[in-house]
Symmetry: D2
Subunit: 254 residues, 4 copies
């Protein structure tokens, strides 16, 4: 039976993620919660260029116990914004797995997530692509192997992106580097997103590079996370942890 | 007490490795076995620009039980060529650890190494740099995580290097790729050595790149290997294994 | 007054080019010639998500003297396929400038283009992006400056792209390199398009790299070409020539 | 007849440049002016590992009219430091061509160079490699072609290199970029030297990259400059100008 998904958020990234979900054979998109419900489209399926009627839009106010009984889902995928965390209480009552890709929670909001994770499995990762999480884990391992190497992070994005990328800051944190000194941000043209971690030794240089081609990578990551999360015991998880467990399982078999 | 090293080979790479060994505080270079003993230099120390007399040159014919009793070492580092394998019997009698960085052993020679490794620990790795071995291991792990990714290997070297690099072929083998189809060799100018493994997914690309700055990287790798090998039980080891064990130890602590 | 454009071709690339043209203040899209006129859309404007009615679709059979009198344009931009060359006779009668981005003309078709260019200015370039043409010209210049350098071309594209890229082959030809030996094609995942030309000298390496982010780059290039072509005397032009003239004009002022 | 060279400076870079000069068939190294004349070596030839006696060392104090008459040269190559500019008066009296690769002249010293260039041809370029100067010129041209592109400069060097590279600052100046905002300096391990100029457009990115393999590149550049300078009328020249003239000559023949 296919996994029933409730998607929160239908902005620039959310709608691309929706496209990926409806392409995935093992999943079905049950409904999409979005901020502004227009009269133009009642169904996400239409907004995504499909003829048939499925994945109706619903507003946050209408998400309640009754709605969830009538429109049951196995997993929530959240690409909206930090406000949606207030809906999580509803989901946890039904023990629905939650994948959150939101990056800027306040401390109070993180506390809510923590609390609800006692009742349902929640996976929270600000950057949910497989590639970036692999990059992070592989870099941490490399740093342990060659602790004396110098490390710099270079990230490149489109000209209008403000501030250093959240992903680069997270990598710096994981590698215990001062982001003000070791994160180098390049802003030019329309670069979708590139992260490079450079390890310098006296006689050799190692580079780990991740390049985003388009935002659909978030969809692939979220689908991977959702499949992994289904059936897990309540608790708070992250993509890094998921990959770390896979690393351990694989490395012992090599 | 510092580790006493016997070095075999004093060619282009061997002499750079010797320089690294004499810079290493925890090691001392006891002697150097080389093919042509000239009358110009009796000591490797002089050939390396040092004033004091140490690390005398010795020819392969003179390496025997008597010599090794008079000139005891804890570890042999071999950067000569496949012929030197015939000396290993002498070393194994004294349970001396052996680090071999030779790439082109015949099957008979590999058999000798295998036999002698019952008496002493032998670490054999054709490419002994930390960076390349990390690259290999990290790629294998990444392939397990994203088995559906397309993989290509690009290696760049100086114009006169013939054939695909042995390291690239080894990476292909480890990743179960047909080297004829997936190893791309670039030969231009004076590039010391660059290996890049490209993992392509529909929406993202990951690149792992290793660039050699100069051959002293082999010295660093051999020193690392020698320190690790000392005190190990007899057996056949490789740099990949050493790193794999380090990976496992680290990943479980993260 | 804005430049009136007739666009031929409305496939994957053509429709993105159309989007770029309607965003360009100095241009207006008069009509679009496409293969299959469906009853769903009468106007390209609708297919591009605009409410107003402009840029009607027309089929190739209906392009005739009468149509062009009723629907006059200043420039034709052709992103369809080699068959459309048979329409050029109609355009040249009216001295309409033609920008052709078609890559696979037969010799007969090239002859037609040649003939018609006696009556109207035609710019023909298989790869019409500014970046690629700059790359080509800069490489040719670099080769003249350092003729002894080794040169290799590396091109990366999505896994399903067959054969070496036409652009890479053209670069090889311009640099007088045997494409079978010096064009290296990497096919992985979803890479949009990357071309790198590596110049190797004994002590230094120079790389010129062009990365496509998306196909709209063709639109920018075609718009640049169309503006340049307007008012030129009849004749056959190419993007390389346009850039070469700009190079000369600029270099003498530096 | 081969070109007679007087070399000033025999430090880390100077001695490598000397090696390149003695390898060059069309040149002969007449003498080398160095700061500290030791009793160990009377001849640069010995310090460079040659058996024969040539290229005697001379101290700056001994460079006078008499010395230059006895030891005539066609061209001076200066890799010492800004102090040596005080010797230029001697050279200009004999109309000897001067190639200066010094980077940190004071305004007074630049004035001296200017004055002496009325009597002899002087080529002054802080970074004298062909590659870097080509990079600079090609970037300036590209900026003229696509003036709306965003530009960033990334330079990578060994960990101990202080401050932004002089070359990167010069590139920024030539491209009219604020170096504080647009030069990004990466310091890790033992990277010899890498400069990358990134041009970002909405739909495409162009990168020009120069990688130094070792310092002998300065020798190649100085030799190229010296050959070009011989026979020129007195005046002040730069590598950029030399390349610019070559560009113009080539582009008109393409």
């Amino acid at each position: 039976m296919s996994l029933r998904v409730g998607l929160i958020g239908f902005g620039r990234t959310g709608s691309i993620v929706a496209s990926e979900i409806i392409k995935e054979p093992a999943m079905s998109l049950s409904w999409v919660c979005r901020k502004n419900i227009s009269s133009d489209f009642q169904y996400a399926s239409h907004a995504l260029g499909k003829d048939s009627n499925f994945a109706p839009f619903v507003s946050a106010e209408n998400i309640c116990e009754h709605f969830l009984k009538q429109n049951p889902v196995d997993v929530i995928i959240d690409f909206s914004n930090h406000h949606s965390v207030k809906l999580y209480e509803q989901f946890s009552k039904f023990n629905i797995a939650i994948v959150s890709a939101i990056s800027n929670y306040s401390n109070e909001e993180l506390q809510i997530i923590n609390n609800e994770s006692h009742n349902c499995p929640i996976l929270h990762s600000p950057n949910i692509t497989l590639g970036i999480n692999w990059l992070m884990l592989a870099s941490k391992l490399l740093r342990k192997i060659i602790p004396h190497a110098d490390i710099e992070i270079v990230e490149e994005h489109f000209r209008d992106k403000k501030d250093a990328s959240g992903t680069a800051l997270r990598i710096a944190e994981q590698l215990q580097l001062n982001p003000k000194k070791h994160v180098n941000s390049i802003r030019v043209g329309g670069i979708v997103g590139k992260h490079e971690i450079i390890f310098g030794l006296p006689y050799q240089t190692i580079r780990l590079t991740h390049e985003s081609i388009n935002r659909a990578a978030f969809g692939t990551g979220a689908i991977f996370a959702a499949k992994w999360l289904i059936g897990k015991t309540p608790g708070l998880y992250s993509m890094e942890e998921v990959l770390q467990k896979k690393f351990i399982a694989q490395i012992e078999n090599m």
